[in-house]
Amino acid sequence: MTRTDMERRPVVLVVEDEPVLRMMAVDMVEDAGFEALEAADATQAIEILQSRLDIRIVFTDIDMPQGMDGMRLAAAIRDRWPPIEIILTSGYATPDADSLPARSVFFPKPYVAEKVVEVMHRMAA
């Protein structure tokens, strides 16, 4: 492994349809020392996942009215890109533990940035 590889920041893909919330999430991810990519819906997220092979973590909203929701996106990621870690968030009631994909973590909205970042660091370690 070269030095630059070791210094490369882990990549986090933020999927959120609300622009203001996405902006905040991207700031949070970057402030925590990660590289942030952003998608406004699941379709965009899948496109990015197909073109970028260095994504470590996907942080996605569950409730997105356009197309696939975050739960289905998460299931698709588990299926097609198993090594990627998944963090979910939603303003709805907390989903049942067995409806969440394996190794994923859920945060109710509004989430505490420090706690989400803590999980991201643990996942990227």
Partner: protein, 376 residues
Amino acid sequence: MASRSVSDSAPTAESDTQARLDALDLYAILDTPAEVEFDDIAFLAADICESATALVSLVVEERQWFKARVGFDACQTPIGQSICVHALQSPGLLVIPDLTVDPRTKDNTLVTGAPHVRFYAGARLETPEGIGIGTLCVLDDKPRPGGLTERQAAGLERLARQVMTQFALRRAIQERDAAEERRRFLNEELAHRMKNTMATVQAIASQTLRGVTERAAVEAFHKRLHAIASAHQVLLQRSWSGASLQSVVEAMIGTFDMEDRFDVSGPPVDLGARATLSLSLLLHELATNALKYGSLSSPLGRTAIEWHMEPVDGGSDLVLEWRESGGPAPRAPQARGFGSRLIAMGLAGTGGSELRYPAEGFSATFRAPVSQVVEA
């Protein structure tokens, strides 16, 4: 198209038919599985009228369908075979002593062929608005020139009213369930929007306050917003109807990640939505202070949260104690900031707090009438 021609000749006006179909829709009973309540009534009708066959028959457009049947194989017949359709015309009972001679029924295939029905008596099933939707009827394979006895006729009519009572009860239960479902859905939707709004406020605040150098104030704002948000989360678990005091305390402790530093005890108490919110803010401020200046600021300090009910004149009070120990000696705050004002507002936002600063640790007693904290 035998059934068609009989249907055309059936003496039901178009408007009557529509009213009947609407009523049937309302009761939502068609094509539902057999239920013992209706089977029982059909058996009783057969018994009382000493007949082998009894039906709870509902008359639809092209068919009659049986909610309950005794001694009859088909679960429905084409409308052309319906005798009940004639019973719909007028309230009360229709008795046809010999179906083979009555012009309305002599060509009916149930009469001319198997099962060779000869006698019919049907009590109209009537909605409170006076719309006939079907009958409770009995059939016999022998004509009965004398019809039903008076007792049989009265019994059949009473049982027909029982059928309608069962329909009405079913409908009331369905309506109640549907209303409950709508209420639950709306609550959830509202709670969801509220949380999204809070998330947006949080996002706007963090963007707007990005350049602010006084980070402590920004952080205090974020944490208070989260205290409210976690109270919403607790409330959402019971469709916003309230929360247990225990769950509110646990939610607060959870946000501070200090489960092992708290000693919590108290009986089960249900809080209303308002008290849930104000108590969440109160506990948040107390814990924040404990973390900054009190027991939670030193590695071995502990905080006890205890509550109980206390009888008072004309009711009882909820009394909640907050007691810190093992931390530095506390000092009463000099300035009266937002935090201390929130604490002074107490359990229900109406006061009733007593704060003490002895050397062994800060402690406080909060008191509010139970009636204030349980109402929404």
